[in-house]
Point group: C2
Chain length 367, copies 2
Amino acid sequence: MSAYRIISADDHVQEPKDTWEKRVPSKLRDRAPRVVNVDGGDVWMLEGQVVMKMGMNAAAGKKFEDYKLEGETYQTIRAGAFDPSERLKDMDADGIDGAVLFPNAFWAFMVQDFELQLACMRAYNDFLAEFCQTDPRRLIGIGLVPTDNVEEGVREAQRVAKLGMRGLLVSSFPKAGPLSSEVFDPLWAAAQDLALPVHLHLAVGDTRGQVFHNERNVRGLLPGQILINSMGNMEALARLLFGGIGELFPKLKIVSVEGNIGWIPYFLERADRIYQRHRFWSRLQLPMPPSEYFHRQVYATFIEDRAGIRLRDLIGVDNLMWSSDYPHTDTTWPNSLKYIDETMAGVPEDERRRIVGGNAARLYGLE
Amino acid sequence: MSAYRIISADDHVQEPKDTWEKRVPSKLRDRAPRVVNVDGGDVWMLEGQVVMKMGMNAAAGKKFEDYKLEGETYQTIRAGAFDPSERLKDMDADGIDGAVLFPNAFWAFMVQDFELQLACMRAYNDFLAEFCQTDPRRLIGIGLVPTDNVEEGVREAQRVAKLGMRGLLVSSFPKAGPLSSEVFDPLWAAAQDLALPVHLHLAVGDTRGQVFHNERNVRGLLPGQILINSMGNMEALARLLFGGIGELFPKLKIVSVEGNIGWIPYFLERADRIYQRHRFWSRLQLPMPPSEYFHRQVYATFIEDRAGIRLRDLIGVDNLMWSSDYPHTDTTWPNSLKYIDETMAGVPEDERRRIVGGNAARLYGLE
């Protein structure tokens, strides 16, 4: 175990089979998502559609050679993915003190029927609150909040706070408009009042990846898609920063999750240059350059990212949070301490301490 | 003037008013794009649509406070944008020895009717060849090549070579499929045989920006769009690298133009990590990690980008090319030497020499 606290700022739960069936209101029970086995692999079905295949979403502990897109089951993946007691053991084995928990069920943000979407999100939040109760000091839940209906989003944010969760996950590409649209202001106001950071997670609400999945026969398209997935975080942040959300809600905290960090120095430098040259004709209502709002209010998680660590002074050492991404394919489990050593070779001890846990502890009020 | 050669690897021409009318075949003359004055500003019309407004496309020499989206005319912009003799004077005034020339007419790639599209591209190429004849040592032309019809693309590439141009500009998001699709192999083969680098230019073929232009009322959307424009280069490069184009065409050169460079260290590090973890299930046909193809075959231009310069060892000093982007809003004109000094403070003289001109001279055979 490390001499100081290590918190993975981005881990995931693979929702157990009964997550929704046992929690959605009875009139929606028949429409709740459920697991079926197809050709030996577990898949999640909703409204007649496959919404998640068991494969990449729970690869922890497997060799890279054995990673697969589909064909895993709840028996072939680590139980730590869905069982909180097993999760704590897996964290112990990896030297991890705390884990910030996100869903695997990104599909929840794409459910067309809003009544069903909201019911699925509420059920997930109830489930995750129970999951975290196993050890609330180490398991830090982030609740799902709908953006298709902002009024209900505000209501669910308040409920999430009451459930003891430490943050809100929203769609990075809401149907109701770009994140900078005024329609979302009540949600940012609620998040600020509740002191719950808003999380933009890689691929959540981002339909571009789906196009690629439909064109599997084209060379290199799927790995290429994984490479450009972090562009979604970049785009969502660009909208929030230039949309003045930091100015309007100065105590709101925003977290870019799983987007990694090596692109951020470029992003901020470029943003400030655009501010310098383009704020006149575009009548930007920003008293400060975008980078200042970033340093004050935005956090970003990364797994391995040596380029970003080399330029950490440009991002802000206090804005960075390491993560293991357990149980996904990028995970550092069960060798997180070794990966941290490699990624952060040469980083002074006090900076490292903040990056691997101190910043998360401060952001989520875990001190 | 500098003690060594300075080449701007990304400049633009504002096509003169008669560019197309006087060069497309007579049967298409009535459909050729032309300039009309709307509310005091010149706009280019094609098939009843506004395809370009005079504003951001020729801002050189104006104060940032005076930049505008529209409302400029051929009288209010610098003549160097469209007149080659004036261009050479503007280059002299800025201490620039050579300029690699790209169009303002990105709309050419989006013309629906292919006969008209091809005619417009051929006319542009004929125009640019004449423009460069004013001083072929200093004015380096890049020809337009259609990707909607690859057979015609190959033919036009051969014509572009005969016209004395030094490279090919293609759509980063062709209608015929992702750049990694096999349908484009004949074009890459032709480019390799002709020793003409293939250029991916910011925003060319990228329809995402258009969405933003239609939603002008949303806060900060347009400046935010400028910020994320380089994502298009990232996405196109991801497809080419993971599509194995570097492996299939080992002498092909690819240039990322105006996408800047600060994101590339992250991009390559992440690409190699994806290669390490995901090449098995995805059956990637790549004997080397993507970064090795990049270092061997890809070049990238930048204007100001201190983050990228700090991490230049991770990109490859020989893969970088400075540019002034004259006459666009990002241009360093008429203070390019000062901007270069600021961006490259601390860079050893021999590296700087390569970045500001040596690499371009080698790539385009100007030595």
